[in-house]
Amino acid sequence: MDLSFTQEDEAFRAEVRAFLQDKLPARLSDKVRKGQRLTKADMEEWHAILNARGWLANHWPVEWGGTGWSVMQRFIFETEVALAHAPRIVPFGLSMLAPVLIKYGSEAQKKHWLPRILDGTDWWCQGYSEPGAGSDLAALKTSAVREGDHYVVNGQKTWTTLGQYADMIFCLVRTDNKGKKQEGISFLLIDMKTPGIEVRPIKLLDGDYEVNEVFFTDVRVPVENLVGEENKGWTYAKYLLTYERTNIAGVGASMAAFERLKQVAATQRRNGRPLAQDPQFAARLARLEIDLENMKTTNLRVLAAAGAGHAPMAESSMLKIRGTEIRQQISDLMRRAAGVHAQPFVTEALEEGFNGPAVGPDFAAPAASHYFNYRKLSIFGGSNEVQREIISKAILEL
């Protein structure tokens, strides 16, 4: 056993750090570090920088623009990017649709769509959930009826993250009502500018807009936008959902957030001493640090197994549960650290270039918003209850 990174890995890490030092704009990392809201342009800017370096689609096959990195290199990359407070890389085209296209799409589809994902021509969003189909995704009702060389789509999707910015949406639609609900689902690519599509942003409890409802009324979609075979969409959807994601635990993001929390605990005072020396807070912090350290190794173990050819399936459910719990706990301690200053809701302070007087310590402004917003982590991407079901069935065989 040896948990050290190899010399090659360390050299790679140095290369990534140098790149981040050089190319990650301070304006962007500053916003991320402060917990300010990112604009569409912010995310596009970082996307383009990564693409220019050839590191954007690092998990794709080399022939389509991938880097050929090992799982460990990808882990290092994702960790370093997070520690440097880079903006999130919007995953819908790059990490969700692309693997499906690469595995199940036609040559024409790959040639057309993959380069456009890389160069940012198309901002993709995801049309999976519906009002009546959340955890029970296969219960979806949005219908696509074949009429000549088009499908006519009617129905509604919801929880479509960043759909307000999107050029394209990949959708699960029902093309057959007979048989089991998992059969009769197809996977369609739909241009958001097609007549009959309406996007309604959903205001979340933190006052921000990041998810949307998308309504389809007689939306005509060319048949060449069907991925794979008609009525086989559930296979592709499951592939997308269980697609081996090295970063599902979000260890890098949690490490970065935890570092910030530790700084806060060292300086913010309660009862005349730093929070880091407050018995209750210190214990919360230590428990979290230990759990995160353990998680890091759990993640590496899964990756090492993946590198050795063992496909992690249900293990990623464990990573998802504990990874999101840790991220939520960090945001929980951050809002606790803010004390009375968690209440003020100065939304201007969440925007770039805010110059007003700070209310309380600077970390406090987004603390409560983040805590409430991160409730989503245990709900989306397959709720943590659904992940427990998977563990129970697939690993524990109950």
């Binding site: 959930s129 009546g132 959340g134 955890s135 029970d136 219960a139 919801t158 929880w159 959903i202 205001k203 979340l204 409890l205 933190d206 006052g207 998810v211 309660r270 009862n271 407050d278 018995p279 209750q280 807070f281 919360r284 929980d332 809002r335 606790r336 803010a338 004390g339 009375v340 200053h341 968690a342 209440q343 003020p344 809701f345 100065v346 007087p357 209310v359 309380g360 409560a368 918003s369 805590y371 409430f372 917003n373 409730r375 989503k376 245990s378 709900i379 989306f380 709720s383 943590n384 209850e385 427990r388």
Partner: protein, 361 residues
């Protein structure tokens, strides 16, 4: 032993509940929290007329109640309706005014003619004698509805020790940086730079008065919190009974049933802690303070659990602004941040226990 509210108090509860349901419905709340002041003066005036403000104070101070249970039931209705307004500031300031004999001003507040607030962290400001009056300097954080208040009771340290003062809206040396709150309503940083102030009571003797006023505030917050938990529970159970996935109501899933059973049990424990706090309020200092800290700890612990479970069991819809549930959850978690959080009160409970041991031995 008697756990009933008693006739008079039950009448107050019914009146207040009916009034808020009729005059502070969800639509009204949504409008009010978007206004600059963050509360509704007309609603407040009507509450005063109904005697709700007076219920927080005893007859000697110009009120009609004033027991901890009176405070509790009023704030429970506030919680149930998620009402916003200077309830807490009025309570804290009013208790301090009553304790220092300033009943004339308190009577105006009870009548709804004057709006009060309170900033009771005596370490956050200093007071120095200045001719006939006093001058205060320092910053009091997150003072409820500070910008709307006609008078604010301010704690400050003087050469004599912790003291209480009254400051007046618009007096020189006062600056208020006001803002909305994430759980509705408004507050402000009260920045004092030699602000003219009137001393309340004796300089240096405010410690016990502040502690008693804060204890009343803690009772209020705990009862408000329990009412919110009840509401979250009812809303969540209703959702579990009606929301279907995999062909059945999700309330049929045993994993959720058992979690709801645990939550229901914890809420009953939280209710008991709030009752204990009110019951011990009129007892000796140590008993009172242990009980209010125990209650605030319990409320904080169960409060985050209730808020998090309610949202989680709702799924995405529980995170939307549109659903009242998310606002109940936000208010509940933020109550945890007012007048000392869960951790602070656990530490305080431990320290009070050690004090008790030291006194006994």
């Amino acid at each position: 032993m008697d756990f009933s509210l008693g006739e008079d108090r039950q009448m107050l509860v019914d009146t207040l509940g009916r009034f808020l349901a009729g005059n502070f419905d969800w639509k009204t709340r949504e409008t009010v929290i978007e206004t600059a002041e963050g509360w509704s003066r007309p609603v407040w005036a009507q509450l005063a007329e109904l005697g709700v403000i007076g219920a927080l104070f005893d007859e000697a101070s110009g009120g009609f109640g004033g027991s901890a249970f009176d405070i509790g039931v009023v704030f429970a209705e506030v919680g149930k309706a998620l009402a916003v307004g200077p309830f807490l500031g009025t309570l804290l300031a009013g208790r301090a005014l009553a304790a220092t004999g300033e009943t004339a001003l308190l009577e105006q507040a009870i009548a709804g003619e004057v709006t009060l607030s309170a900033a009771l962290d005596s370490d956050a400001a200093q007071g120095v004698a200045d001719g006939e009056g006093w001058a205060l300097t320092g910053t009091q954080p997150v003072v409820p509805f500070a910008a709307s208040a006609d008078r604010i009771v301010v704690a400050a340290r003087t050469g004599e020790g912790p003291s209480l003062f009254l400051i007046e809206k618009g007096a020189p040396g006062i600056e208020i940086r006001d803002y909305p709150l994430i759980d509705g309503g408004a507050a402000g940083e009260l920045m004092l730079d030699g602000a003219a102030a009137t001393l309340l009571g004796q300089a240096g003797e405010a410690g016990a008065i502040i502690e008693e006023a804060v204890a009343a505030g803690l009772v209020a917050l705990c009862w408000e919190a329990v009412a919110i938990m009840d509401s979250l529970k009812v809303q969540t159970l209703e959702y579990l009974r009606t929301r279907k996935q995999f062909g059945v109501a999700i309330g049929k899933f045993q994993a959720l049933q058992h979690r709801m059973a645990t939550l229901a049990l914890e809420i009953e424990q939280a209710r008991s802690s709030a009752i204990n706090a009110a019951d011990r309020f009129a007892k000796g200092r140590l008993e009172r303070e242990k009980a209010v800290s125990a209650a605030k700890f319990t409320i904080g612990r169960v409060g985050s659990l209730a808020a998090e479970e309610a949202i989680q069991m709702h799924g995405g819809i529980g995170m939307t602004w549109e659903l009242p549930l998310s606002h109940y959850a936000k208010r509940l978690v933020m109550i945890g941040h007012q007048l000392g959080d869960e951790d602070m009160h656990l530490e305080r409970f431990i320290a009070l226990g050690q004090d008790a041991l030291a006194t006994a031995s």
